[in-house]
């Protein structure tokens, strides 16, 4: 199994949730985070000076799925979260060695 960790714009979070649901990926865990991208956030002009706002609010979504689902999940998230502008975020795929359902204790592999 893999954990897909996506960092997206908070205003796109709802849409990502919906699209994932439409594709059948219901289960997920979401966290409010702050992020800074390679471009160092957003630059504002202020009275002749430049001010950088580097830590911006983002939503992090974690979804654990079977290996063969990974690409479809990535695609779904990417298309729902993309605005084409800087700050759209990243998706990371991390190996999961074991997954347990607490309610039943069963191991989902």
């Amino acid at each position: 199994m893999k954990m897909i960790t996506a960092v997206v714009r908070p205003e796109r979070f709802e849409r990502v949730m919906e699209e994932l649901e439409n594709e059948g990926y219901i289960a997920l865990t979401a966290t409010e985070v702050k992020g800074r991208g390679e471009q160092k956030g957003i630059k504002l002009q202020f009275r002749g000076r430049t001010m950088e706002v580097d830590l911006l609010d983002k939503m992090k979504i974690e979804i654990v799925v079977d290996e063969n689902e990974v690409d479809r999940v990535i695609e779904t998230i990417t298309s729902a979260a993309r605005t084409g502008k800087i700050g759209d975020g990243r998706i990371f795929v991390i190996p999961v060695e074991k997954s347990v359902r607490i309610r039943t204790g069963e191991i989902i592999s």
């Binding site: 205003e11 709802e14 630059k43 706002v53």
Partner: protein, 399 residues
């Protein structure tokens, strides 16, 4: 008549009550915006208070309440409050009257923030606010209360339904049209960041409104008591009506409940010294339903008059002005309304409300347009995205 210490005590207390309403509006609005614009939204209310307070002392008061010039504006004899010492006007100190009226001018500007919330430039707001209060508020106050042409006409406005609410509500709509929708409006949800903050604001507004309406009697007497109880009753009826109406459409939100209370308060404002408690139930309840419908209409139209000053203050104020012409009862405030057979009063109310509406909307539209085309009313796309707290104030609301 001579100074009456009881009337003076009441006007001083009432002034304090109304003063608190301006930050109250700030909190009411501040809770409804996104976290990144919380400080900006609250601050604009404080700024409205600061700007108007200074302008009022310098020349706002005299433009509103100086000796009448052709029915349209006050003369300049009180510039810098010159010549106003410790003496009284009626039974209260003249300066007490000046201060009481000041708080009305301040809150009116604060209500306008609704139409430009989460996207206005701080510096442009200051400029706009200063001009708006001078060009829109002061003349309107003069027309209705300062001996201007609407006063001549016989229009009734006990505590500012026309001057404060119609003017601010429709001006907010005009600004919203000029400044344009918030980025992402209609595309993704913009949830209120702290409804408890909005509820705190509502509590302060309800509280302060007792000063607003009952203080407008300018005396501590039976009329003030009447104003106070109809104010409370209309607020309650409005809260219940909006709650039930929104329940019918879905869930009864707490935001709806307090919006209804404000709608009721707005509607009873012009009527508070003219109607009895039973009428205030009707006025408040109808206000709750009309303003709720106006909000749905606005959303349907895709207008981003963001915090519903138009639906609640504009439409609520309009209804209140008309309702005054319907329910006024001679035994309360010496005037009769439509249900007691007085059609003239009803018509006077409509003329006054309509004139104020048109004047406020038109002048605001032009003023906002001019500012937008010159210095620019709106922040840049990046500044809006980052939020006004950081981009305009260099601050974050919560660490």
């Amino acid at each position: 008549m001579g100074l009456d210490s009881g009337d003076t005590a009441w006007i001083l207390a009432a002034t304090a009550l109304v003063l608190l309403m301006t930050p109250g509006v700030g909190l009411f609005y501040g809770g409804m915006v996104r976290r990144k614009n919380a400080l900006s939204t609250i601050s604009l209310s404080f700024l409205a208070l600061a700007i108007v307070s200074v302008q009022w002392v310098l020349f706002g008061y005299t433009l509103s309440f100086g000796s009448d010039v052709n029915g349209v504006i006050g003369g300049l004899e009180y510039t810098g409050l010159a010549g106003i010492g410790l003496e009284e006007t009626g039974t209260i100190p003249h300066l007490g009257f000046v201060a009481f009226q000041l708080t009305f001018a301040a809150i009116t500007l604060a209500i306008l923030v609704s139409g430009m919330a989460e996207r206005v430039r701080l510096s442009s707001f200051i400029l706009f606010g200063f001009l708006w209060t001078t060009l829109v508020y002061d003349p309107l106050a003069h027309w209705v209360w300062g001996g201007g042409w609407l006063a001549e006409l016989g229009a009734l406005d006990f505590a500012g339904g026309t001057v404060v609410h119609i003017s601010s509500g429709f001006s907010a709509l005009a600004i919203a049209f000029v400044i344009g929708r918030r980025a992402g409006f209609g595309e993704h949800s913009m949830e209120p960041h702290s409804i408890p903050m909005t509820l705190i604001g509502s509590a302060l507004l309800w509280f302060g409104w007792f000063g607003f309406n009952a203080g407008s009697a300018l005396q501590a007497n039976g009329l003030a008591a009447n104003a106070l109880i109809v104010t409370n009753t209309a607020a309650s009826a409005g809260a219940i009506a909006w709650l039930l109406a929104s329940w019918y459409h879905g869930k009864p939100s707490s935001l709806g409940m307090v919006s209804g209370a404000i709608a009721g308060l707005v509607a009873i404002t012009p009527a508070a010294g003219f109607v009895d408690p039973l009428a205030s139930i009707a006025i408040g309840a109808v206000a709750g339903i009309i303003c709720y419908s106006a909000m749905l209409f606005r959303i349907g139209k895709g207008w981003d008059e963001s915090l519903d000053a138009w639906a609640v203050h504009g439409i609520g104020g309009l209804w209140g002005a008309i309702a005054t012409g319907i329910f006024a009862k001679e035994s309360v405030g010496e005037y009769s309304g439509l249900i007691y057979g007085n059609v003239e009063q009803f018509i006077a109310q409509i003329i006054a409300a309509g004139s104020a509406l048109v004047y406020a909307f038109a002048v605001t539209l032009i003023l906002a347009k001019i500012i937008d085309m010159t210095v620019g009313l709106r922040v840049s796309e990046e500044e809006e995205y980052v939020g006004l707290d950081i981009s305009q104030h260099g601050e974050k609301a919560y660490a």
